[in-house]
Subunit: 213 residues, 2 copies
């Protein structure tokens, strides 16, 4: 097996899936592939280019979204698929919005999204399109980052009450008991655990429909 950019990216993704982006080093990746570290620099100029490779591989996964005849359904499908891919590869959220996504598959996804949105009746000119694409992407980036962060903290502190009280619990409850943050306290304590997918869907629809009308 002669080693290739695709193979390197696949191994890197697998490593990052398990150990996160911090746990992905050029050296470990090389060891995983059974070669010396410097070998990888024949295929990639930088660690950062390695990340670009990984990102575009994820976009390839996203780009497989089915084309719907309705522009609205197409847009929703793409963003939901983005969410699915992000939850499958949480490190992806660390890179979301942090660098320009210019790989071929990223461009393809961007093209599908923009093309669909350009069919919305409210989109009169290219400036409208730019604003709308920007707003939607911004929401999705932020929402996915938040969701992944919540997942991570829930995982490390544990969802159950006992470990929660041993980690962030004391500090947070102490802060909330000061009475200086009543609304936040209500959100934390009384706020039901909303279904993340439903919340994402609901907010996405609200913004999409609000912005295209």
């Amino acid at each position: 097996m002669p080693l290739s950019r695709a193979k390197i990216a696949a191994a890197a993704i697998q490593l990052a899936d398990v150990h996160g982006l911090d746990g992905l080093s050029v050296r470990k990746l090389a060891k995983e592939l059974g070669v010396g570290p410097m070998r990888l620099y024949d295929y990639v100029v930088n660690r950062s280019e390695l990340l670009d490779l990984m990102v575009d591989a994820i976009y390839a996964q996203i780009a497989e979204a089915d084309q719907h005849s309705q522009w609205r359904a197409t847009v929703l499908a793409i963003y939901h698929r983005t969410r699915d891919a992000t939850l499958d590869h949480e490190w992806f959220s660390d890179l979301l919005g942090g660098r320009p996504h210019l790989g071929p598959h990223a461009l393809a996804v961007g093209e599908s999204t923009a093309a669909a949105l350009s069919q919305a009746p409210a989109v009169r000119d290219i400036d409208d399109l730019q604003r709308i694409v920007g707003a939607l992407n911004a929401f999705v980036i932020g929402a996915l980052r938040r969701e992944v962060t919540e997942r991570r903290t829930a995982r490390t502190t544990g969802t159950d009450v006992t470990t929660w009280q041993k980690t962030l619990g004391p500090y947070l409850t102490r802060m909330l008991k000061t009475g200086r943050y009543p609304t936040v306290a209500r959100l934390v304590i009384d706020g039901a655990h909303l279904n993340p997918e439903e919340t994402f869907h609901h907010n996405l629809i609200t913004i999409l429909d609000g912005i295209t009308s």
Copy 2:
């Protein structure tokens, strides 16, 4: 000068403002403060806690937003101030959404935002509030990340045409000339350079009014 968490945070912020988060190391920070590296670990348990300190210092800056009598004006003021602070300290965008913001000032900002939004007529119960706060925060996080990323690439590649053509230009124009990304091409080529602040404001208002009605 006896060294304190506040002083450490201030020096760290200054360093990060100039050299970015990557250019901020515990060792450099210690040297800047005229002490040995390990000295800082008497005030901070981790590099990560150092970042938390810095983040909360920025939230302190944001929290100074004036209180308006109208909830809508309050919300807008807070988010605009968030944007201002982020553009003053671009590294802040790298941390946005990537970790829970639980410092006292972050909580204060969250409290002000949530309290204001809870006065919106459309907010009936706490679940509404949770969804709306989540959606707005998500948009702002994503929008600021994107804006900072654009600023950075514009800075390194240069805004003028000549350097642009020497860096990303060739690759991107080649990709766009394939004809596979017509809509993206139109966005890049024909899309006017929209005023970032206006775009932010416009989108924020659209989402805010769409979601609270």
